[in-house]
Amino acid sequence: MRKSYRSDAGVETEVLHGIDLRLARGEFAALIGPSGSGKSTLLNLIGLLDRPSAGSLSIDGQATASLDDDALARLRGQRIGFVFQYHHLIPAFSALENVMMPMLIERGRPDQAMRARAAGLLEQVGLHAQMDNRPGQLSGGQQQRVAIARALAMQPSLVLADEPTGNLDTRTADGVFALLREVNATLATSFLIVTHDPRLAARCDRIVELVDGAIVADAPPV
């Protein structure tokens, strides 16, 4: 895949040059690289939030190039979960409702099954007691656990996490990371985790290193 942007002055800049990446089912990979290397751009392409300028992307064997915006949005909702650095919960909704949100968007109306599944996921991340709290009433680590539960709501094939622990102290970060690994082990969900933290990357099964828009290394940690 290639991705280039045209600036306002009309100058075309390529930020990703020929990325060839395959993630297997159940893989737990880290994406590392210096700032400006194109990590976020690659994540957005894989997350179907953006389209490549050239090349193609398939998810679970389904090609995405020919899909329109709405179909892309639906596929994104069904197959991909996002965990952002700053939690990005919706403040107007409780923890439980935030976890229900992807299912609500997909199915249109809330129902008991949705509520039960969201409650189960919150229990799994250890937040059953805080389920009716608003995001503002939760600690940073708790918010990130809610975000993880939300990312898993649709049983996605792939979870994309952008600096999921970047905003947390070391102990909380360890807990959140352990949770990601546990989900990976029990549900066989693939993970691609963008991180700056070499300690965290070392605990993944595979490290993809991006420098200046190209993959320079792709191997298990040493």
């Binding site: 996002f82 990005h88 809330p110």
Partner: protein
């Protein structure tokens, strides 16, 4: 989260509830605008109905008259003009030709609610030394009450005009110093006189009408005015008073008679009435416009404030259409709630108005009713205005690039 509400509704209501101060302020703003519109509409329709009722209290909606006498230039057989100077002819009091037949035909028209034959003309009322110029009106009361509601305007005696009986206005009664049971001598311009017993006094709400009109039986008026068997006009009542002018022209074309509608007769009044309506529509339009701008500006700010949340929802699979509808709904809900508040405020204003705006005798100046229909229109209109106003912000929300929105 109510189980029967779709995602868009849930998100719209939560967003509005969360933006508490903003939402309250804009709903109050819409409410004030709607209350002005509802209050003004109710006040104006009450006022117009009142003015109209007063104006039409003593008038027929259409008066059908015999055609005017017209003088034509005299011509010789070879079409040469013999008398080229034509003087306008003096109009004499004449009967409508074959009025019974025309009356039957008019009564059969569905737009016409009532037809009353009238024989009227100038006369004098004499009592003692007092001598007053009057308009003598011969009627068939059972038909005439459908055209001019005089029966409910009787303030003394009763509406009874058998042979030798007359009903006069309170002003004339005062001028002549006469009351119910007194005798009155009426003489026509031709010198024919007759004596009548006053059986009733009316108040039609206009001083000149109360001073001039004298109602007697059709037969008595016919003989006094030298119109035996004839009528000077057919007075009509309509179901729809605003159709009067069009209908009058149709009747004129149809019968060859002259037909004057109340709209033509009261041209200035009618113009005042319609320009009042036009100016109130202009005010309503601009109040509606400023309500729309208010809603739009609040929602534009809300889209900017929530752009990250919109991005997250889009990342979770929400389509552009879902985001569009979420914000359109917010506009509609603000419009609806604002209109309910506004209707309540308008009701309050109108109640106060009716307490304070009173005639010297303590009766309300005029009746104002807030019709349920008016509130329904206001609610529907404000909701529609809200949705329209939300169009621009909602499209912006739908067009947001999730990548930019989440990073921002």
């Amino acid at each position: 989260m109510h189980p029967w509400l779709p995602f868009e509704w849930i998100a719209a209501i939560r967003f509005l509830r969360e933006g508490r101060m903003q939402s309250v302020l804009i709903i109050v703003g819409v409410g004030v605008g709607v209350s002005v519109i509802v209050f003004m509409s109710a006040l104006l329709s009450g006022l117009q109905a009142n003015l109209l009722a007063r104006t039409l209290a003593s008038q027929a909606h259409i008066v059908v008259l015999p055609p005017e006498d017209v003088a034509r230039p005299l011509r010789a057989q070879d079409d040469a003009l013999l008398g080229p100077l034509v003087q306008k002819q003096a109009q004499r009091l004449r009967s409508i030709d074959q009025w019974q037949r025309i009356r039957t035909r008019l009564a059969a028209m569905p737009a016409i609610a009532g037809v009353s034959p009238v024989a009227s003309g100038p006369a004098f009322a004499v009592r003692g030394d007092a001598n007053k110029s009057i308009t003598l009106i011969g009627i068939e009361p059972e038909h005439y009450v459908r055209v001019v509601d005089i029966a409910t305007r009787i303030v003394g005696g009763q509406l009874r005009v058998n042979a030798g009986e007359a009903v006069i206005g309170i002003e004339l009664a005062k001028d002549l110093g006469a009351g119910v049971g007194d005798k009155l001598r009426i003489g026509s311009a031709d010198g024919i006189t007759d004596t009548f017993l006053i059986t009733g006094l009316f108040d039609l709400g206009s001083k000149s009408v109360n001073a001039r009109n004298v109602y007697v039986s059709l037969r008595a008026a016919q003989s006094l005015l030298d119109l035996v068997g004839g009528v000077s006009s057919l007075d009509l009542a309509l179901h729809d008073i605003y159709a009067a002018e069009i209908l009058a022209q149709r009747i004129a074309d149809d019968t060859g008679l002259q037909a004057d509608s109340w709209i033509r007769t009261n041209a200035q009044f009618f113009t005042a009435l319609s320009s009042q309506s036009v100016s109130s529509n202009v005010i309503r339009f601009f109040v509606g416009l400023s309500v729309a701008f208010g809603i739009a500006s609040v929602l534009v700010v809300s889209v900017v404030q929530r752009s990250r949340e919109i991005g997250i929802l889009r990342a979770m699979g929400a389509t552009r259409g879902q985001m569009l509808r979420t914000f359109l709904l917010q506009g509609g809900v603000v419009g609806l709630l604002g209109s309910l508040l506004g209707s309540a405020l308008a009701w309050l204003f109108l109640s106060l108005w009716q307490v304070f705006a009173r005639n010297p005798d303590g009766t309300p100046m005029f009746e104002i009713a807030v019709a349920p229909g008016l509130i329904a229109i206001a609610a529907g209109g404000a909701t529609a205005v809200g949705i329209l106003a939300a169009l621009i912000p909602a499209r912006r929300a739908a067009a947001l690039d999730p990548v930019v929105a989440i990073r921002g």
